[in-house]
Amino acid sequence: MRNTVVRTATTIVGFILVAALLPAFLSGFQLQQVSVAISYAIAILGLNLLMGFAGQICLAQGTLFGIGAYVTAILNATYGVHPLATLPAAAAVSALAGLVVGLPALRLQGLQLAIITFGVAAAFPQLLLKLGSWTGGVSGLPIDSLEPPEFLADNPELWLYLASLGCAGVAALIVRLVLVGDVGRALQAQRDSSQIAEALGVNLTKTKLWAFAISSALAGLGGGVFAILNGFISPQSFLAPLSITIVIGSIVGGSTSIVGAFIGGLFITFVPTWTSNINLALGNVIYALALIGIMLLARGGVAGLLDRLTAALTLRSNPNGKAGSTS
């Protein structure tokens, strides 16, 4: 017990340190990209809860992300709501949408759920176009820029970074609370074996729906932040491959790790650009090889790698402290 508290405290402190130091070393543009990575990380956090802990393979996280983004944009562009004030609504609407997606999940097994959610992800951009009068159709929607307070007036990127970080902190807190509570244990039980879990009294329906709701709420929150960061959204940013990219981020980072979600977010935001800069034509090839390479070398994702590293460094006798390992 003490070990876990110490580890959590160290992780949090380490995280805060890195987060605080980043702005000093990065240019405005790079910091903006980190903020975008954070918005993805919030969505990945939700997916970690759903996929990593609850074992539900959802390939529509990008859709829920997009729903959150559009809720923010519509509330802001059409109704003049302040960008930050739209975020709870974005999370709520996405949670509802997630429940709708989650309903079939009650009856479906892993692969089947993956396929259905993939279909939803493929259909989403078309739906946005169809509802053009609400969503602005192909032309997209603008979002007011988030004005920084007086003392940061020269550094809007820093302000956006802090706002994103704040939202991410809230998201991480929610996930942590869920995991250490009854819901978290129920989630993991039903992932490991739904029949046994049910026999032990876990209400599978409630558990699965809760997982979908919270995961989608986080995706929506991430989407709302994304919309604010970009100042403009259009269906082109929410195609089916986005859902796949978020899954990739989740697994590369470590699908049962909160820190992993942030690593995953950074991976999917920066690595494609880096590889593209190395060689324009070969860029994607290098990205794909990097992706496959990470999977071959680090099964638990980068977070799993870090875990093993810290365990080895501190020579802990029981390195299996992380709740719910994926094996």
Partner: protein, 293 residues
């Protein structure tokens, strides 16, 4: 009435394309218990190799023959390099690796041949024939014929031959198959090799219609997955039937459900797949499985 039949026929033509990919997906799943999200792109890559060979002057049949051998080798290589190391790992890792293959093969095609679409020679004569007022393309009919024959052959392989039985055993339970003398690794390798070959056949069949391009199979992926699900993941003929069903239902939905229209027609296969999953989860032509606790 003629319009209705024509809509069904055009649905069948599109469905044949879905069936092609579905067959390759089902084969890999049956033989190795893995859903290969990168199947379509691997197939596209092999088709490009064939195209390049024919561009260098080889006659079409020879290019295709060499292409089939190359795709077999490619399948085995993909298995040994990317999938075998992850046999003991959680399923998510394999999912990501197949997604990685999706990106890899599409990227390699773009890198080697550029993004322009290219014409691909058709195995079937151009033109169409008419049944009454309804026009049927020779290539659509030919594609379906080839697919049905292939599916039947694969089905027979799995059901009636020792090799097929060994492959199914290796996919179903790796640990215990070793105990009864199945060379699991070799079976899995063969499975990937065969699936790659079938994938290439699928690509060669659809390329003349869709034009050869790096993203030729990408929009089809979901439809292929849906078709395999509707038909049943352990039934090759079911994959064909599933593809046709998906194609026809989509075509009918687009033309007769005003609310959907052509742009939202993907909703029809989604609902169809969901319906089948809720009513008969193993697919229309699949067989019951027993799950262990």
């Amino acid at each position: 009435m003629t319009l209705f039949v024509q809509i069904v026929v055009s649905g069948l033509a599109t469905g044949a394309i879905y069936s092609a990919l579905a067959l390759a997906l089902v084969l890999i799943f049956r033989a190795t218990n893995v859903v290969n999200f990168g199947q379509g792109e691997m197939a596209t890559f092999s088709a490009y190799c064939t195209w390049q060979l024919s561009l260098w002057g080889l006659p079409l049949w020879l290019s295709i023959a060499i292409g089939l051998i190359c795709s077999f080798v490619l399948g085995i290589l993909a298995f040994r390099l990317f999938v075998r190391p992850l046999l003991e790992a959680p399923v998510e890792a394999t999912v990501v690796v197949t997604l990685g293959m999706f990106v890899l093969f599409q990227a390699m095609v773009t890198w080697l041949w550029g993004a322009e679409q290219k014409p691909f020679p058709s195995l079937f004569p151009d033109g169409s024939f008419s049944l009454g007022d309804v026009r049927i393309l020779a290539s659509s009919a030919g594609t379906l014929l080839v697919l049905v024959v292939l599916a039947a052959a694969i089905g027979c392989l799995f059901a009636f031959t020792r090799l097929g039985l060994s492959m199914r055993a290796a996919a179903f339970d790796r640990v215990r198959s070793v105990l009864v003398g199945v060379n699991v690794e070799r079976m899995l390798m063969l499975g990937w090799g065969f699936a790659a070959v079938i994938g290439m056949v699928a690509a060669v069949l659809v390329a003349p219609r869709l034009f050869l391009s790096p993203t030729m199979m990408t929009p089809i992926l979901f439809y292929g997955l849906a078709a395999a699900t509707v038909g049943g993941w352990d039934s090759p003929l079911g994959a064909i039937a599933g593809g046709l069903l998906v194609g026809v239902s989509e075509s009918l939905g687009a033309n007769y459900i005003g609310l959907l229209g052509a742009d939202m027609r993907i909703a029809v296969p989604i609902v169809l797949t969901l319906f089948v999953l809720l009513v008969k989860p193993v697919g229309l032509f699949g067989s019951q499985k027993v799950t262990k606790l």
